[in-house]
């Protein structure tokens, strides 16, 4: 009886179209938000905030971005790392060139710049699809990383190539970026960004734009025949997706690691994000978060589990086992539950809905 839809009659299409039409879902969301905004910063220590919660938020955003493109619009990309790097460097250049500019604006603009780059590399999607496209997106990955490494202009001619993210404040002197900002401030700032962008994503995917993406994903020819323009739709998906990935990259550099370096966004990063999307659930906003949480927590679990049971395993070995487990999990999910953790959650919810009378 915990989770009941019955008795909640919707008297208008407007109500039916609400983002969470079921009361229990709304309550759940409220609880999650309260926990995230109030309980977590109060209860978690700094170590937890900066080594678990921050990467989780940053990854969630990147996974969300890739999920919009791959899960909703059906365009497989292996270039996520390149787009994150673009966002990080765009934010760095903007923040340094315009020290007075509000950091929120800086992040949004870096998202817009990344969107532009994403559109550019999305152009091949008009002629090719599936793994052909995936291979083409590798071009963006390798080219962009090479570019940021090669041209000292991007790092403002720093000699080491590793640069620290400039400290910036919001609301006067409340520092949210750079290494001196408090983990709480960083966390809340990133959380606000991620929460709002997730809401926006949820709105977009249930609009005519999102339906256009899914139509292209499910059957591109039929989509075109009913009047959905492939050009605008696909490039639009690349733009929005890259916008999200770009902001995620900016958050990574400015808030999570406090340093801007292209190396952080190499090809393994792209795969990592793709794995989050697959494990979390293709075509699910919630899944992006679940997948990110899973992949942030897995290595922590793996590196602690052996010591907990008294085994002593080298760091090297753990990282190899991580590869193995990750690979096996991907295969497992694709075979057993291609819709990922998000679907498992939904199934659990449906069971709960019928509980305690399963028939």
């Amino acid at each position: 009886m915990l989770y009941r839809e019955a008795g909640q009659f919707k008297s208008s299409y407007d109500e039916d179209q609400a983002i969470f039409p079921i009361l229990q879902d709304r309550i759940m969301l409220a609880i999650v938000l309260i926990v995230a905004f109030v309980a977590v910063p109060l209860l978690f220590n700094e170590y937890w905030l900066s080594t678990i919660m921050l990467p989780f938020l940053v990854f969630s955003l990147a996974a969300l971005g890739l999920n919009l493109l791959t899960g909703y619009a059906g365009q497989l990309s292996l270039g996520t790392g390149g787009f994150m790097a673009t966002g990080a460097f765009a934010a760095y250049k903007l923040a340094v060139a315009f020290p007075e500019m509000n950091i929120i604006i800086v992040f949004l603009l870096s998202g817009v710049i990344t969107a532009g780059v994403g559109v550019l590399f999305g152009i091949p999607s008009l002629r090719i699809k599936g793994f052909y496209l995936a291979v083409a997106t590798l071009a963006s990955q390798f080219f962009l990383i090479w570019m940021f490494n090669k041209f000292p202009w991007f790092t403002n001619y720093s000699s080491s190539g590793v640069i620290s993210a400039p400290p910036r404040a919001v609301f006067g002197d409340y520092f949210v970026t750079g290494s001196s900002a408090s983990p709480q401030a960083k966390y809340l700032f990133a959380l606000a960004f991620v929460a709002l962008l997730a809401l926006a994503a949820k709105n977009i995917v249930r609009s005519h734009i999102g339906r256009g993406w899914m139509a292209i994903r499910d059957m591109d020819i039929a989509a075109e025949i009913i009047g959905i323009k492939p050009l605008q739709t696909k490039l639009g998906a690349f733009a929005v997706s890259s916008f999200y990935c770009g902001i995620s990259g900016a958050l990574w550099a400015f808030i999570y690691t406090s340093s801007v370096e292209a190396l952080a966004f190499d090809i393994t990063r792209s795969f990592q994000i793709l794995f989050m999307v697959i494990i979390g659930g293709l075509g699910s906003v919630l899944g992006s978060f679940l997948g990110a949480a899973f992949i942030v927590l897995l290595p922590i679990l793996l590196s602690n589990a052996p010591t907990m049971v008294g085994l002593n395993i080298s760091v090297d070995l753990i990282s190899h086992m991580e590869f193995m487990i990750m690979g096996a999990l991907i295969i497992f999910f694709l075979i057993v539950e291609p819709h990922g953790l998000a679907r498992l959650w939904q199934v659990a919810k449906e069971k709960l809905r019928l509980w305690p009378f399963p028939y």
């Binding site: 091949p124 071009a139 090669k150 190899h320 690979g327 991907i330």
Partner: protein, 311 residues
């Protein structure tokens, strides 16, 4: 202006002034390209027979090489190590067919593709868990002295690699043309139904094809491993086979070979003569960019089948 000169003038001046050097670069590139072809060949075999784009081909190259070196490090003579590695690759193929392919048989191609990405991670992790991740030297006694042909310097090893690759392709050609299994494989590539009528179960065919791809991977692994040492970066080299495929077409063996040669040569020439204009290291992305631009004009590749859509 300076930049334009560096792109449109200087390289050509260099090429004309030092033709011998240019030829050396071209030949070096072609020979390196042979090794790309070798990896690409593994992809094509599997794609033709099962429609699976096997992203893990690169991981199979590394895994095969790691197994071989690992066994040799444990004191096995090279021929025994080689035999055991072949056995391991066949076993791997059978396992993959049983555990992965069979379960995903009716899924969309893109799901299978992602599954092979998972497989590639698994293999990378598995290989290194067993054999460790330090760079291993693979020495099968292949000579590597520079040789001179009419003023052009060529590395002996590259020639050995090219000849081995050539023989491998020849052996495969005979296998496909003359043996019953080979003919069945070709039938499968054209039409799954037709293959069934040959009387060989699809799953056997898949296991065979993955084994063959594993062996091709082993040869590629030996070549690359001898050249660069057996290490994780081999998988990155293997990634370069993807643009080769795009150029050559996913279903064409000659395509894989010619695509590999084009990419190998193009990337070397670009790096040596144009690299400076861009600040160097353009080898990192040149192949992918070339493939990307190419895709825009000929999505099916040089030799691929034309893509026709119907409703």
């Amino acid at each position: 202006m300076e930049f334009l000169t560096a792109i449109f003038v200087t390289p050509f001046v260099e090429i004309v002034s030092y033709p011998i050097f240019f030829f050396e670069v071209v030949i070096g590139g072609l020979l390196a390209g042979v090794m790309y072809s070798l990896v690409a060949l593994g992809f094509v075999l599997i794609f033709k027979a099962s429609g699976v784009f096997n992203f893990a081909q690169g991981a199979m190259v590394l895994f095969a090489a790691l197994t071989l070196v690992g066994l040799m490090e444990h004191g096995l003579p090279w021929w025994l190590a080689l035999l055991l590695t072949i056995a391991v690759m066949v076993l791997l193929a059978i396992t993959v067919e049983k555990v992965v392919l069979r379960k995903l048989v009716n899924q969309e191609a893109i799901i299978l593709f992602m599954a092979t990405i998972g497989l590639s991670y698994f293999l990378d992790g598995f290989g290194q868990t067993i054999w460790g991740s330090d760079v291993k030297v693979l020495d099968l006694g292949i000579p590597s002295a520079p040789l001179e042909f009419g003023g052009i310097l060529v590395n002996e090893f590259d020639i050995v690699a090219a000849v081995s690759a050539g023989s491998l392709v020849a052996v495969l050609a005979v296998f496909f043309q003359k043996t019953r299994i080979g003919r069945a494989l070709r039938a499968v590539a054209d039409d799954h139904q037709a293959a069934l009528s040959v009387g060989i179960p699809l799953k056997t065919i898949w296991a065979i094809v993955w084994s063959v791809a594993g062996l091709v991977g082993l040869v590629a692994g030996i070549m690359w491993g001898t050249k660069l040492g057996v290490q994780f970066t081999l998988t990155l080299v293997a990634l370069k086979a993807l643009p080769v495929l795009i150029l050559g077409g996913f279903t064409s063996i000659p395509g894989a070979i010619i695509g590999g040669l084009i990419i190998g040569m193009g990337e070397k020439v670009a790096e040596v003569f144009w690299g400076a204009a861009f600040g160097g290291a353009i080898e990192d992305w040149f192949a992918y960019m070339l493939a990307l631009v190419f895709l825009l004009f000929r999505p099916q590749g040089l030799f691929g089948d034309k893509i026709i859509e119907r409703v």
